[in-house]
Assembly symmetry: C2
Homo-oligomer: 142 residues x 2
């Protein structure tokens, strides 16, 4: 169906949740997991990777939790997606042209490069600051 994986979606839920709170607020992963319907044993790896990428800042130990590493307005959807899906590349030959012997003269490749760039530009333009501001239903920001 050509969609992003669940990991990526879960990651966006986590970042969105934090973006809706007070700037700098710190919450436990288990809390987010229950509120955003993320399998509890799953969220560990996701948070781990997001912090490795520099999107989240975590504090271990009792009283710890997770928070945004930067203001939500500086975190793009593209960043979150690429943290789990790798660099955007709608066809294999976009990321590594050498993989296909036809790539030298293939006009379709050019089309995929263009499509990938367009998509990348769009996702770069979406920040979690914008997304958090679009929330209408206060119920979802407990």
């Amino acid at each position: 169906m050509f969609t992003i994986g669940r990991n990526t979606d879960y990651a966006s839920r986590i970042v969105l949740h934090l973006a809706c709170l007070e700037p700098g607020a710190r919450v436990t992963a288990a809390d987010i997991a229950s509120r955003r319907l993320i399998p509890s044993a799953f969220i560990r790896r996701i948070v781990s990777r997001l912090s490795a990428v520099g999107v989240l800042a975590t504090v271990r130990g009792s009283g710890g939790g997770i928070a945004l590493a930067r203001p939500a307005a500086q975190i793009t959807l593209r960043e979150v997606v690429e943290a789990f899906e790798g660099p955007l590349s709608l066809n294999v030959c976009v990321a590594s042209p050498a993989i296909c012997p036809l790539s030298v003269t293939c006009p379709v490749q050019q089309a995929w490069v263009g499509a990938t760039q367009h998509l990348a530009a769009f996702l770069t333009g979406v920040t979690f600051g914008d997304l958090a501001r679009e929330i209408r239903d206060p119920q979802s920001v407990p």
Copy 2:
């Protein structure tokens, strides 16, 4: 890596190959397979589906072959992609919002809807007529 499947890519090779020939030219599947590096036993299913979708017209029996069902300028990359990947939907909730309980208030979904529409528009704008015209190396049009 979030890319299209090989089937889809093979399909675009086939359509491109036909688009580079004289309009209405008919060629055997085995011929395309060998020239465009497509596994010979693979091309059957691909051609079959492309003709079911109305992109290719096939003629069975001795002396038969496959040809474009319409002028190349009227066949878009999007059509070929959707024939194998299904309707474009960069996240599961774009095609079927009911699948996610959060979709009612989720601003991320709106972002994915937008991204999907942008991508769809781009791919609709790419026709195989244009692609065939971009071929520079005459070697690839034997």
